[in-house]
Symmetry: C4
Subunit: 221 residues, 4 copies
């Protein structure tokens, strides 16, 4: 918890690039620490972000406290995901929020209607129930709401906020044909959960290919 978000965000972006979460400048991560919100610039190569490229906003995200300090600073704009990150901070008390364009996330939004549902896969236990700090059980059914995409990222804020409120147990919202948002109390928790969610999306796609239901009909004992 002592890590500097300026160092952490570039490092995590590199790792996420390698995991296929933020190809082609897509996706990203924001961290909130000591009343400051750190966000990456928009439309840049996520695996090459430098600590000096970041925007630092005040707690409610309305004002830039520190802009990028790099040579290219004047050309940088803060991530369009900022209002979405703030929704997770404000509605859930999260301190880190991730956005991925993972192909597995997009595929499940094409294979499921309103909600992604899966049960009885061990990795579900890596997911917390909302902001209770309590882990999901193996026999719980993980439900992730799927909202429809909009032409502009910022226009997702309302439906994302609505989904966050309607699904108090979720720490992820899927955006159809787009990707997902995942948040957590700490960056470690957000990062751990995004990997668990993505694993579950990926295995669900494989289960669909083999005709295996993602929620078993009767509880196995």
């Amino acid at each position: 918890m002592q890590e500097d978000p300026r160092e952490l965000i570039p490092e995590l972006c590199r790792q996420f690039f390698n995991l296929g979460f933020c190809s082609g400048t897509g996706g990203g991560i924001s961290i909130k620490k000591e009343g400051k919100v750190y966000v990456a610039p928009s439309g840049v190569q996520k695996e090459r972000i430098h600590p000096d490229d970041l925007f630092v906003l005040n707690e409610d995200g309305t004002k830039v406290i520190e802009g990028p300090r790099c040579a290219n600073a004047a050309n940088l704009k803060q991530s369009e995901c900022t209002p979405l990150f703030l929704a997770a901070y404000n509605l859930r008390g999260a301190n880190a929020c991730l956005h991925t364009h993972s192909q597995a996330a997009v595929m499940v939004t094409l294979l499921f209607e309103k909600e992604f549902r899966i049960s009885q896969i061990e990795m579900i236990k890596g997911i917390r129930k909302g902001n209770t700090g309590k882990a999901m059980d193996f026999y719980d059914t993980l439900v992730v709401p799927i909202i429809d995409n909009t032409a502009h990222e910022k226009d997702l804020t309302e439906s994302l906020s609505k989904a966050i409120e309607e699904y108090p147990d979720t720490n992820c919202v899927l955006v159809r044909r787009h990707g997902c948002y995942v948040w957590g109390e700490t960056w470690q928790r957000a990062k751990g959960m995004v990997e668990c969610y993505d694993y579950l999306f990926s295995i669900a796609v494989q289960m669909k290919q083999h005709g295996i239901p993602t929620v078993p009909e009767a509880k196995k004992e």
Copy 2:
């Protein structure tokens, strides 16, 4: 064999993370050396473990000899897999035990009933027959028992132990909808075998997709 488990475990965890064996804080590895059992903490990012984060237990795993020495030590708990690692140590004389949440391992537990069976794939020869030190033959049928998952990891100990005893030739137990445990006389052997098992799980899933039986009907000569 001169490597320090404190250095080795973090290094192997990084490698396993890259192989998809321990995403989202799942999975892990334990090594036993000179009467000490080294285990990772529970619920931490496996690819970021530091030598000072490890727990060192006495030989039968009942007592912590050295706790984590890192700043965050007070918050760390030893891996919930500890009793399962100990089962492999005690019942088989293993000195290293690995646990993965690999998607291929989970998929085969959904595609096979009581046992995973495969024959006549070269990588079978990378697997030993129990603790005999003797390698499997190409024409042998590799049988890996599949036990059902439980709500809590520690509750797997009994069925894992039972499977270890009932299948003296196996160095792996699959846990349905969860992953697998693999052990070996040395960490090198355990690591080599987990890669062979995982390769076989992965190719078996592909064979199923193409309608190819994993155990050919008649022995090909």
Copy 3:
């Protein structure tokens, strides 16, 4: 924008090798800067290119200004893709051009006839409309022309040029059973777009596997 193409090209080639874009000496990248065109040698391991291995050509690509400076220089020939890179520079004012043999690119040329078409996938927004600098919209249909391959790479120049002219909105041309060419105003833009295009090719292959049309029948709102 201050980076030296001599350093950048080897670095990008290493990254593209890891992304599966240039296995087995295939694929490559060219950058144009300050009136000079930098190209890699033909038939070399792209992930091992050294800054001294590059060819530097004059602006219209007709003359080698600086040949390779490495010990092996006499054996090196400039990339056969050179006329194709020049087509993108001359017809579009591009300053970077990439060529990949990505398996996803080849697969879509086998699954689509004259054009690859996809709509309503967020990553489309990472693609620009021709050289207007304007990003595609989520609801736009991305159209990538597919030209037939020729026995010799240089013989592609004519049909590639024709496709570039007939499809003023595209920054990519697919070559059937071969791969694709992607260009951009800057290397950053070309690199960002090649990742977006490849993502879209890859997800289109998956959508085909699941019987999901890549262009939805009616616009979803």
Copy 4:
């Protein structure tokens, strides 16, 4: 061409491990230089080989000139693939020979009978016609013989040699349910070709999944 095989072999093994060519101690590479044959030890982690672990044999492979110099030397045995590497050296004048257990290679041996055949995929041009130094054409049909596996690796020597002689144009022999051997005049050529062959195996598996023939019925012009 000035690289020391003692340094090169460990480096290439690390790269091949990351490409999935030599998981679980399987696969390997041998290089012949200045009348010496360099081979890796048997049954070791290929991605952790150290220059001091190698065996150096005389030109015809009958005698160990320099054994491993590492602390663990007494426990090391030379790769069981040695007679197979020598077959490529002796019958083809190759100076590097690779053996992979790639899953794509194994899958094509399950999907094809006596020969793997593919045509009109650009990467075919990365393959040479036997030891003529002449590259395959795009419209050529690449034919790779598939031999049946044997219980012991050394027993493959006869059928591998026979395949090499019967297929003078090939630089690869597939071994059913096992993997493949690829060789070349130089290590660069062998490495480039193994990546091309593996790419072709992988895309052939995908083509089969989509019902696309690997050799088009009529030549496309």
